[in-house]
């Protein structure tokens, strides 16, 4: 249950961006949550709705995009989506792969009312 800590970090990031953009209010927050980032999207949603009150995000909508695991296989020289938590190329079965998406939690976009 570290979703509350994640939301606190997210709210701080929103405050910082609102200030940099001279915004009075944030109305929409879009985040990308990797399937293997270690957080549960619906708990994140609940935590956001609880903690946003009386912050710059009060009343803001949170949109969570869940990101599949995407790897780049150096042997195939191609990108593949991993369906299972098995870190090998689903095509050539090689392990010379690099994860390019699906392990991170990212703030992608903010919609704000500016002053």
């Amino acid at each position: 249950m570290h979703e509350f800590s994640i939301v606190n970090a997210l709210l701080e990031l929103c405050e910082k961006n609102a200030e940099a953009n001279n915004a009075s209010k944030i109305t929409k927050v879009e985040i990308k949550i990797g399937k293997l980032s270690g957080v549960e999207p619906h708990l994140l949603q609940t935590a956001f709705d609880t903690f946003k009150e009386e912050t710059i995000c009060d009343g803001a909508e949170l949109i969570v995009h869940v990101q599949e695991l995407v790897v780049f296989c150096n042997t195939c020289n191609a990108e593949h989506t991993l369906e299972k938590n098995e870190f090998e190329c689903p095509v050539c079965k090689g392990t010379d792969i690099r994860v390019i998406d699906g392990e991170e939690m990212m703030l992608m976009r903010l919609e704000m009312d500016s002053n």
Binding site: H2, S5, I6, N17, A23, N85, R109, L110, M112, S114
Partner: protein, 281 residues
Amino acid sequence: MCKDCGCSITPTQWAAHAHEHTHDGHTHTHTHHHDGHDHDHPHAHDHDHHDHSHHDEIHANPQLNDKKTIAVITKILDANDTQARHNRAHFEEHSVLAINLMSSPGSGKTTLLEATIDTKQIKLGVIEGDLETNQDADRIIAKGAPAHQIATGQACHLDAFMVHEGLHHLPIDGLDVVFIENVGNLVCPASYDVGSHLNVVLLSVPEGDDKPAKYPVMFRSADLLLITKCDLLPHFDFDVEKAIREARKLNPKVDVIEIDSKSGKGIDQWINYLKMKKALR
């Protein structure tokens, strides 16, 4: 393309609204700003804005309803990661190897550290994370090594800020290794970089060989997997090969040591691992 919000207004619309786009924090306004908005695209500049119907009303009061969308694309834990890099730099300045020890509660993290101190081959210090009590730090200090306890309260993990705080309470000069003994938990600590060089994850025999597959984020993060309490193997249906196979599906490069801190099995290998990693830093 509007530079401020990245929206894609056509050249005609640009011309028509040119007076509104001449300064920062522009005032071009679309009351239904996000209509036709493509949620799957990570960047903000692909929005279509169809509805300009309240344009006149906005002109009457440009301060109201002035929405804009910005692309941020920042890690949510960016501040933590910055602090983690700082912590790592701090360890490096003091030529100390930092190891984040993670596992479920009761898998033998503190007992492993006690056994490590007893070998007298590694000079170590410990930053302890627990919800409550100083018991773990007291056990380390009783063995003669420096330790600082962080009581996290209700927090289920250590983050880079807590470790930084702990660092300044630990005399680290002259140490070979600083262990960050994380809160016992196979979920939350895996999401936080605390500024260590290596993640060592413990899996004790009584927990079962199914844990790597059940807690993929944690076991994927491991540089070294320690299968602990190995002397209990005859009493449990724990398939060591299966546990290793599952862990390597998640991280094909993970190293594994089978260890028992009480009997001393595998401790030599563990000490050699620490010495080698320290020498490579």
